[in-house]
């Protein structure tokens, strides 16, 4: 019974590899070494100190660092270095007292509250709530007022008051491991609660406890030195770091240098505690999840844009994408994508996830995620080459020339603003109108997307509306600048089936009403068939086929198009089982040479490993295949 259980239990403390990772944090290790050196030096003060901390030399007061006095002398001619060394033990001992009290209280209380839960947890929570709001420093002063010059009383009080925050951290850390498999397993195997807490839970929450203890040590040091600075708790001739700052304050006008050694040592020691805490936290976090190194956002990634772009050329197509390559780092994710959108046309882009259809859509508005870039090819919008546009240039055409509707309407609206105000803001961006007029137009737009009671909806916040309403509002938002081209990326995928049809219907009628050209990205042939005039089929970063939708569906040329159509659930009603394409879409790193589909294709031959161009065929059809489906023969197709 117990044998399989023990295999589930991590044997090493905290997490495997934790100390190894921590040792690679230069700042954390350097801080620990610094702290150790300070402690050793202060402990050995009677042996290594050059002078007595009380030894005065009135002939040599307020002197700068020299060979005889490495850190100079104070107002009574006492050696600053010696006083720092002798002042260390009382200072650091205060910190130790506070941290020890903190750990003794917060670890057991936090463990118990988190592990047992229930009323224990609620009671502990109530008490910590109250303690957290108490004015710590004033209570510490009150203790000093009562106990006189007793630094220990003050630091123990500080430790007690500080426990409240740490109890919470320990509690939530325990909560997160309590339900893990090995803890439950230990419980099932008959281990007592105490044993489980000590053997299995405590090692796992040791990380957060070390972090909290280190950060609290930094606070305790600041408070200890602060009190000593006020000469509370430590009587002046006795050396202490904070007291030395106080002594420096007296002669601040004549000799500001005296502030530096004591203040510097205090700051460095606080810093060391803080950095140790940070590095332990980082090392612990890395154990759970390896975070990607990039923290760059779109603003930092935004390019300035090329100064001069190619001049506009007359073009019948409103949007033309020519041989577009997009890469993430060294990895190509779009490979020579070409498509064209005629005025007033609805063009479908269809494919499985991973085919590159969303990347294509995002590239049209310059919304590619940070790290992705267009490596070659061109995008022409009404004849103008927008490929090299920077963020500012794109901002000038987004909304008015080309707009976009996204897949997840519920997270696509700013939760902090009323929907009407969001639309009105976009209206004002595109037209010079008053605030009142922009609000009226916002309501008109909401009416246009067929929302009942548009004026009432305009006053709502995004969390007060349904998914279908949110998508209508997103469409209204995209129409606010009266765009020439509308890109809709899976606009109905996140919605209920009944709502899907309404949204498609709305898009179609808006398109004809406003004379827009629309690109509709979808994985769903039903959606494509419903409203598109023409469609392109994408697979693994390439366009593999294009043509009028009806023709494409009834007479596919590319084996992938054919397979994709066969696996469409709507077409396979009545079949004993849903036909599927064997294998899965390869990731960009796994793309084969030549035809990307060949590993999954029944018709593949050795020639398919050679580069395959697009072939143009009858009636506005083209495909990327040398073994097309149907009665086409390679002789019939031309370049």
């Amino acid at each position: 019974m117990s044998a399989p259980v023990t295999t589930l239990i991590p044997t090493r403390s905290i997490q495997p590899g934790f100390w190894h990772r921590w040792l690679r944090k230069p700042l954390g290790v350097a801080s620990a070494v610094f702290l150790l050196l300070v402690i050793i030096a202060c402990a050995l003060a009677p042996l290594i100190s050059p002078y007595s901390p009380y030894q005065q030399d009135l002939a040599d007061v307020l002197s700068l660092p020299s060979a005889t006095h490495w850190l100079g002398t104070d107002a009574l001619g006492r050696d600053v270095l010696s006083r720092l060394l002798f002042g260390g033990p009382v200072t650091l001992f205060g910190v130790l007292q506070a941290v020890a009290v903190l750990i003794v209280i917060s670890v057991p209380v936090g463990l118990i509250a988190g592990y047992f839960g229930g009323w224990t947890d609620r009671a502990v929570n109530g008490i910590t709530d109250i303690v957290l709001a108490l004015p710590t420093i004033i209570i510490v002063l009150a203790v000093l007022a009562v106990f006189g010059t007793n630094m220990s009383a003050a630091m123990i009080t500080l430790g007690i008051l500080g426990s409240a925050g740490v109890i919470r951290v320990v509690r939530s850390a325990v909560l997160s491991v309590r339900n893990e498999l090995y803890v439950s397993a230990a419980y099932v195997s008959g281990a007592t609660s105490w044993r489980i807490l000590l053997r299995h839970v405590l090692p796992r929450v040791a990380g957060p406890i070390i972090v909290q203890a280190a950060l609290f040590a930094a606070i305790a040091l600041a408070v200890q030195t602060g009190l000593a600075f006020l000469s509370l708790g430590i009587v002046p001739p006795e050396p202490s770091w904070g007291g030395m700052v106080g002594e420096a304050a007296v002669v601040i006008e004549q000799f500001p240098w005296l502030l530096v050694p004591s203040g510097g040592l205090i700051a460095l020691t606080i810093l060391a505690f803080g950095l140790i805490g940070d590095s332990v936290r980082d090392a612990a976090v890395e154990g759970w999840s390896r975070r990607a190194g990039t923290t760059m956002n779109w603003i930092q990634a935004a390019s300035r844009g090329r100064a001069a772009t190619a001049p506009s050329v007359p073009d019948t197509a409103v949007l033309r994408v020519e041989d577009l390559d997009v890469s993430f780092g060294d990895t190509k994710v779009l490979d020579g994508v070409s498509l064209e959108l005629q005025r007033g046309e609805v063009l479908g882009v269809v494919g499985e996830s991973g085919s590159g259809k969303t990347v294509t859509a995002l590239s049209l508005l310059g919304l590619l995620p940070p790290g992705a870039r267009i490596s070659s090819g061109a995008i022409r919008l009404e004849g103008a080459d927008i490929t090299g546009y920077g963020e500012r240039q794109f901002a000038a055409i987004r909304g008015s020339k080309i707009a976009m509707v996204f897949q997840e309407p519920m997270v696509s609206l700013d939760p902090s603003f009323r929907v009407g105000d969001q639309i009105a803001e976009v209206v004002r961006r595109h037209a010079r109108v008053s605030r009142a007029e922009s609000r009226r137009r916002a309501i008109t737009l909401l009416e246009k997307v067929r929302l009942p009671e548009p004026a009432e909806v305009a006053r709502r916040y995004p969390h007060e509306i349904s998914g279908g309403m949110a998508q209508r509002i997103c469409i209204a938002l995209s129409l606010a600048g009266d765009p020439t081209v509308l890109v809709a990326d899976e606009p109905t995928t996140a919605l209920d089936v009944t709502v899907q049809a309404e949204i498609l219907d709305l898009l179609r009628s808006l398109q004809s009403e406003m004379g827009m050209s629309v690109i509709l990205v979808s994985h769903d042939w039903g959606v494509i068939a419903e409203i598109c005039d023409r469609a392109v089929v994408m697979y693994a970063g390439q366009v593999v086929e294009s043509g009028p939708v009806g023709d494409l569906i009834s007479n596919p040329a590319h084996p992938y198009t054919s397979a994709l159509l066969e696996s469409d659930p709507a077409r396979s009603i009545g079949l004993p089982e849903l036909p599927t394409i064997p294998g899965s879409v390869p990731t960009p790193r796994e793309w084969p040479h030549g035809c990307h589909f060949q590993p999954r294709c029944a018709r593949a031959t050795a020639e398919c490993a050679l580069p395959i161009p697009m072939f143009r065929a009858e009636e506005d059809r083209s495909f990327r295949c040398i073994h097309p489906v149907g009665d086409r023969t390679p002789q019939e197709v031309g370049r």
Partner: protein, 313 residues
Amino acid sequence: MLRLVLHRLLLSIPLILVASAVTFLLTALVPGDAARAILGLNASPEAYQALRESMGLDLPLWQQYVNYMAGLFQGSFGTSLSTGEPVATMLGQRLPVTLSLVVLSTIVCALVGILLGTVSAIRGGFLGRAVDVLSLAGLALPNFWIALVLVALLAVGLRAFPATGYVPLETSPGLWLWALTLPVIAISLGGIATVSKQTRDSMLDVLDRDYIRTLRATGLTQGAIVWKHGLRNAAIPVMTVLGLVFVSLLSGSVFAEVVFVLPGLGLQAVAATRQHDVAVIEGIAIVFTVIVIVANLIIDLLYGWLNPKVRVR
């Protein structure tokens, strides 16, 4: 929202009770008692006994606490053991000084911290590292030491600011601000660091959200997206941090008032500690607790104003 405020108010009752009980119990531990402290060691036993009775010190401890709490509800904090003055009067005079310092510092921390955090979020690189260094310095340097350095450099060195003293706001707003400038800087560095770090983290998180991409797709300028939509959403978690910063500023005010000799509650608390005047410290502890409660209420209201999801409830 209303529930949140009510919850806070309900919590404040045990809070004040605990704060007063803790400090009251400490008083009981003082060797000797208040009567002895007032009369001194040479008073006659009769006079000492008479004062004890008139102050109610002969009663059992719980009765003394009840009497104290009853006085508290009538606005009486008792009398100072060292001066014999009513504590309420002493604190009333000093409250505006501490409030001026702490409120001004909170505003500075919020404005400068949010500005630095936002700029470093959108610029990264050098500014990002500068904020890192500033936050390390702000957290590592003890505020009483920063205060002294500011005095040495700007007050003693350049004579640009007064080294000590306070001018009430109603006397001269200009001089009030001038006298508070250095104390505010001294205690605000740590808070600025905390706020800017939180602002940067939540701004980076917000800028990565889907709704920001939607707004970009509508053609809104980067400025409008960052400073209006980004900041509004990033400010919500910053509010929580600002509550913690306020509490630490209150602690910092004690040291700043000592260094700059500002006649506030902190300076009073340190003086009272030296004189073992527990009655005054007790009063200050309660006033500080109430200040924290009020500040948390204001921050809750701001939080609700920023976050519509909380507001409707």
